[in-house]
């Protein structure tokens, strides 16, 4: 392995452990270069990054647990029975 290639070569595990820094824009430039050099030649790590990014952007899962409209009504009624809040139409 040539000196340059050896310098550039990060193993997959190292690249995967740097993904949190990459997504947060915290990769120092030299590490960033080596990170990208690896990604350019490693399809598995590219795929890994796609999945890692999806896992890190999971706000869509907030909506994956539907609950009945009655939940809010029930909570407000519960609190009103204890003298907390104001009673009335919860939807208003």
């Amino acid at each position: 392995m040539s000196g340059l290639k050896q310098l550039a070569f990060y193993p997959c595990e190292k690249v995967r452990d740097l993904m949190i820094d990459y997504l947060e824009d915290k990769l120092p430039s030299f590490k960033g270069i080596r990170f990208h050099l690896h990604l350019n030649t490693c399809a598995q790590c590219r795929e890994y990054l796609i999945l890692y990014r999806k896992a890190a952007n999971a706000s869509t899962f907030r909506k994956e647990d539907p609950h009945p409209e009655e939940c809010l009504e029930s909570v407000l009624r519960f609190l009103a029975q204890r003298g907390i809040g104001v009673s009335g139409d919860p939807a208003s």
Partner: protein
């Protein structure tokens, strides 16, 4: 009355709203009702994803509101109100988990995926949008308890690293390490399943940073 009611969860952080919440009489009561209306979806969802039973989740939501109401005068406002609300919910969930372990004669500390009680159905979910997201959703369920909470706070609920660390009562660096492990666990789990199902390479196109 100076209340301008928040219409979504993030809006409860305004100083004016906090002032109204702390007011006596009708203003305080009206503000607390507005808080419940603005926070209920997010709060219920956060709790429901970590507890298996809808009924238990509703009980915990109610307990959280009672605690918020009782402790509001002591809320110093050093953190955001949203963070404080998640913190209270986190403590109630931890209490429930500890009670269940105690009842089963286990010690606290946790086996994987122990977010709910035995014998109850897993949280219901809408149909997944695609196979990869479905796998990520399933992978979440296999996370250890503490990792699951960190992941939910940070990547699902969108709290900052500092806020999530404050809720969990751990140092931000430790939170970041555990968050990364949780994400890697999810990815490794999903890749394993994809490889087994022969769906490798269908995870979508590569885009920019998060």
């Amino acid at each position: 009355m100076s209340l301008s009611a928040p219409t979504d969860f993030e809006e409860i952080d305004s100083p004016e709203f906090l002032k109204s919440l702390r007011a006596d009489g009708v203003e305080g009561n009206t503000a607390f009702t507005a808080l419940v209306k603005a926070a209920n979806d997010r709060l219920f969802g956060f709790i429901r994803r970590q507890l298996s039973s809808r009924e238990e989740s509703l009980e915990v939501v109610q307990e959280v509101y009672l605690t918020l109401h009782k402790d509001l005068p002591g809320f110093a406002g050093k953190s955001r109100l949203t963070t404080w609300v998640f913190g209270q919910a986190h403590r109630k969930i931890m209490d429930r988990a500890a009670d269940r372990k105690h009842a089963r004669g286990e010690t606290a500390g946790a086996g994987p995926g122990d977010g709910g009680q035995e014998g109850s159905a897993p949280p219901e979910r809408l149909a997944p949008r695609n196979a990869v997201e479905a796998l990520i959703g399933k992978a979440m369920e296999s996370l250890p308890e503490q990792s699951l909470r960190i992941y939910h706070l940070r990547d699902v609920e969108g709290l900052s690293g500092e806020e999530a660390a404050e809720v969990m009562g751990i140092a931000p660096d430790e939170m970041r390490v555990q968050l990364h492990r949780a994400r890697r666990h999810i990815v490794d789990w999903a890749r394993e399943k994809m490889a087994a199902a022969g769906t490798k390479g269908k995870s979508g196109g590569e885009g920019g940073k998060a």
